[in-house]
């Protein structure tokens, strides 16, 4: 198993956790081919939290799916922790996802006829942990996400925010070096979103590398870096910085006039 990533000062090119070069995706179905991603290159340092934004249809999910091995790229390379992975078989990708890449989606995708505890223990058990190890990790994660009292509940009995936190716990169960999240707050109200974001920030603080696709500017602003996609290409790549006087922003909303 690849060790959990920890933040490091300015790694050189070969210390990047993820490196993609000239990645593109063309969907060829019945109609004309769709160029969803066109020549995207990007490197991610271990411990970095990157938000991916862009209009609907700009290729965010396609990009993320390629990074998680759910869709093969049409052209380009994906390097994960120094090894080239874009040509891996489905089975090897499945193993990589189990061990090293956590995935969270907009619609939580929990197994509905299993308890919360079983959902969270499943990935560890599938990758060879003992029952005891899986249980210990599950207890630790549910406590961290404020869900200890829901362990024996069925996912359907939980609120959207709680289900998404369970999905996060499941994605984090095997201490992945990379967490991929596709609009995890897209289907949640603002209080539930805030809970999920708090968890993302917390694990990022513990060194978790994250790629978060989101429309939610509040979520994106918590990242170290925001990449903007448009029409399948990166049109902007920024480091987020905290302004010196944030109160000015609030004043733009509340003006006491005169």
């Amino acid at each position: 198993m690849i060790a959990r990533a920890v933040p490091q000062p300015a790694p050189s090119a070969d210390e990047m956790l993820l490196k993609i070069v000239g990645l593109s995706k063309v969907y060829k179905g019945g109609g004309p081919p769709v160029h969803a991603v066109r020549g995207v290159s990007l490197s991610l340092e271990p411990g970095q939290f990157v938000a991916v934004m862009g209009p609907s249809g700009s290729g965010k999910s396609s990009l993320l799916h390629m990074l998680g091995g759910l869709e093969p790229p049409t052209t380009g390379q994906i390097w994960f922790d120094g090894a080239r992975v874009d040509g891996l078989s489905q089975a090897r990708w499945a193993m990589l996802r189990r061990r090293n890449i956590g995935f969270v989606f907009q619609f939580f995708n929990l197994v509905s006829n299993m308890t919360v505890a079983d959902n969270v223990e499943l990935p560890a058990l599938m990758s060879g942990a003992t029952r005891r190890q899986a249980k210990e990790r599950r207890i630790e994660l549910l406590a961290e996400l404020g869900l200890s009292d829901k362990a024996s509940a069925s996912p359907a009995r939980l609120s959207g925010g709680e289900q998404q936190r369970v999905a996060l716990a499941r994605a984090l169960a095997n201490r992945p070096s990379l967490l991929l999240a596709d609009e995890p707050t897209g289907n949640l109200d603002s209080l539930n979103s805030a809970d999920v974001l708090r968890v993302l920030c917390r694990v990022h603080g513990q060194g978790q590398t994250i790629i978060l696709v989101t429309h939610d500017a509040r979520a994106a602003s918590m990242a170290d870096r925001v990449v903007n996609l448009f029409d399948g290409m990166i049109i902007d790549d920024m480091d987020v910085v905290t302004p010196i006087r944030p109160s000015v922003a609030a004043a733009g909303v509340l003006r006491l006039g005169e």
Binding site: A217, R218, A220, S221, N228, V240, A249, A251, L254, L256
Partner: protein
């Protein structure tokens, strides 16, 4: 600031510094601390218009202070303000005008303009998140103000995206 001052005075008479700190307590750090000079100027105008009246309170150990109180006309103006609906949300028209007119000014790269603005908004959003987490959970008014500012910023960003989709 006229009507907020009238509202603060509706409960009990106060002097300028008290009004300043009441404003700060109510809106918290999210709102830049009002300038005391501005408060005094506003109070003078309110007095001129007959909405407040003032009287000097003699203090033995410190300079006298001027205490303001609401007049019946002030109370009426306040009630009228509270009862009428407020203007709808403003849009950040300055950037939009800049974007719309930039080709006339010889700007060829509107995408750069949009990107710069988006960076600015996202950084502001980060600042507001920090401010929210540094704000006491009990300061509900202050937290709501920050949340309002965030929702406005989100709308600004969504609109920016629409501009980008339409113009690029």
């Amino acid at each position: 600031m006229r009507l907020p001052l009238l509202a603060l005075l509706a409960k009990e008479p106060a002097h300028g510094y008290e009004l300043k700190s009441l404003l700060e307590q109510t809106f918290g750090q999210a709102y830049p601390s009002p300038n005391i000079g501005q408060i005094y100027v506003t109070l003078q105008r309110l007095e001129r218009d007959g909405l407040v009246k003032s009287q000097d309170v003699i203090q033995t150990t410190r300079p006298n202070k001027r205490v303001y109180e609401l007049t019946p006309a002030g109370r009426e103006a306040l009630a009228a303000w509270i009862e009428e609906p407020s203007e709808g949300p403003r849009v950040r028209d300055d950037f939009f005008v800049k974007l719309a007119l930039s080709p006339l000014a010889g700007v060829t790269d509107q995408m750069a303009l949009i990107n710069r603005q988006r960076r600015h908004y996202l950084n502001l959003m980060r600042g507001l998140s920090k401010l929210a987490s540094a704000t006491d959970r009990d300061s509900r008014i202050s937290l709501l103000l920050i949340e309002g500012a965030m929702l406005h910023l989100q709308a600004d960003l969504d609109w920016l995206e629409r501009c980008q989709e339409e113009l690029m």
